[in-house]
Amino acid sequence: MSSLHADGVVRRLGDKVVVDGVTLTLRPGETVGLLGPNGSGKSTLLRLLAGVLAPTSGVVTLDGRPLAEVGRRATARRVATVEQHADTQTELTVRDVVALGRIPYRRAWTPATTADEQAVTEALARTGLADRSGQSWHTLSGGERQRTQIARALAQQPRELLLDEPTNHLDIQHQLDLLELIAGLPVTTVIALHDLNLAAMYCDRLLVLRDGRAVTQGTPAEVLTPALIEQVYGVRAQVTHDPGHPLIRPLIRFLRPGARDGSPLERRATSDAPTTP
């Protein structure tokens, strides 16, 4: 039984087609990775799924109802988004930021209910931020900020969580910390990622986009093949199958056609040489 579902969604921006007929069905509880080069439409697809952007054609449904019909507030109680990079000029504590997640539940002119307070406290505990709740947002590190945004998303009590390259600005330790946290959450997750190995480790299923189109989808082992990586990213890679998940090793040396058998040194020599047709 599908909850959030995209059916042939298309999004145009001027005369450019950013997302071109993508269909995605989410099964409850799974983690779906969105892969693809920069500009392949990952962020736009996430925004379509969150309902903050309307599809030019096609439809995104939540429990069978189009998002436009469900309404912005009701959608925000079900689907939460964590952006790549969030910042504010406002002076806010960690708890203030997490409490923003209750806005879809709040009524005008009324104070926060105990349910609101409880959801915020739980979200803080779940993300390991309970002892930081009074700290100022501006004093947090990049990893802690993303953690706070995830806590905010959890305070929305969503069933679907959409994350747009949440680990982009983080070092390897914090990338792993964050993905461990996300993988352990009891929600259906769609996560755009750049790192193929992290995607292989943490996702149940992958959807690969290129130029706005879905190239393929399936389990990491099915999807992450040398042929696909070369087709989508233009990079040759070696894929070994460790127990559990595929391990990708990009072969930088072979990046340039014509230097495939050369050493890095020779490759430089080749690229410095004048090109003759």
Partner: protein, 337 residues
């Protein structure tokens, strides 16, 4: 936390009432404090005034409306400033950022200098119409440009420049020295002409706009991380922006048409208040209304007494206090980037 809340909810209104009570006793006419309060009490239906009708009029028809208009203007400008700063995500936004004050000036000048409306339209009405015209232009312009936050601000700047130029042009080409002086005084912001009609009008508009803005308090919180994040929290961004811009423009237009463009209250007071309340709008908006009101009551008292018998336009005093505060805001912003 709750002690602070109590202080703010009880202390704020108390400070405002005390400020008004004291400010109304200060003035060039030599009337004792007790007589002033007795006169006010008499008009409120309590006891008898000991003052002769002329001196009673000074208290009830000059000082009282003026003090109250100062309070309402201060409250309104501070609320509009707080809303604009959050909505446009710009710490330097103020109620005049959308060109409302410049449009009001042009409207006022058109009535006073050019005689538009043939005497049937008052300076205030002209200013009000000019303000709304300018705001409509900004909305139209920013809509055509794509309605993003910075587009709104840029459209406001454009309108501000245009209407300032028009005002200067009209004044320099058509007005005599006397009229120029009068207009200039009004442009700088002045509560000299306050009467009960203005107090009632501005209070009514303030009440309505404050209720609307408080209804949107959580929604304004949602804008902390930008339009996209607000949309993700279920906010209908375009509609919210339109409602709040219209509400604050309407209030600003009403205030400016009565008291001219009193600068800096709307820019500085919300920042000062955030330090007291934190940035949650459910607390920020009512408290900044109070701090704005108290501030302007005292600044106006200063403006009408410091060079007695001459009067300094209240806008000049707010700016003299406001500019150092403005620099402090910039300085704080510099630290964070």
């Amino acid at each position: 936390m709750s002690v602070r809340s109590l202080l703010l909810t009880v202390g704020g209104p108390a400070a405002l009432l005390a400020s008004i009570a004291v400010a109304v006793t200060i003035g060039p006419a030599d009337i004792s404090t007790g007589d002033v309060w007795a006169s006010v009490a008499a008009h409120l239906g309590l006891g008898e005034s000991a003052l002769a009708p002329l001196r009673d009029g000074i208290v009830w028809d000059l000082r009282m409306p003026r003090t109250l208009l100062a309070a309402v203007c201060g409250a309104g400008l501070a609320v509009c400033g707080a809303v604009m700063q959050s909505l446009l995500r710009n710490p330097l936004a103020d109620p005049f950022v959308l060109g409302v004050s410049s449009g009001a000036s042009t409207g006022a000048v058109a009535v006073v200098v050019l005689g538009v409306g043939g005497g049937a339209v008052s300076l205030s009405a002209g200013a009000f119409l000019g303000a709304l015209l300018s705001f409509a232009l900004v909305l139209l312009l920013s809509h055509t440009l794509g309605a993003g936050t910075d587009r709104v601000v840029l459209s406001g700047v454009a309108a501000m420049q245009l209407f300032s130029a028009l005002t200067s042009f009209i004044v320099l080409t058509s007005a005599d020295a006397e009229t120029t002086r009068g207009v200039l005084f009004w442009l700088l912001g002045s509560l000299t002409g306050a009467d009960w009609g203005q107090v009632l009008l501005c209070t009514a508009v303030l009440a309505v706009v404050l209720v609307v803005c408080l209804g949107y308090a959580r929604t304004l919180d949602a804008f902390s991380f930008g339009d996209e994040a607000a949309a993700g929290l279920g906010v209908r961004v375009a509609r919210t922006r339109l409602v709040l811009l219209c509400a604050t423009a309407l209030l600003t237009a009403a205030l400016v048409s009565c008291a001219g463009a009193i600068g800096f209250v709307g820019l500085v007071l919300p920042h000062a208040t955030r330090a007291l309340t934190g940035s949650g709008h459910a607390r920020l908006l009512p408290v900044t209304a109070l701090t704005g009101a108290v501030f302007l009551v005292w600044v106006d008292t200063l403006a009408r007494t410091v060079l007695d018998p001459q009067e300094v336009p209240v806008g000049v005093v707010t700016s003299l206090i406001g500019v150092p505060a403005f620099v402090a805001v910039l300085y704080r912003g510099r630290r964070r980037t």
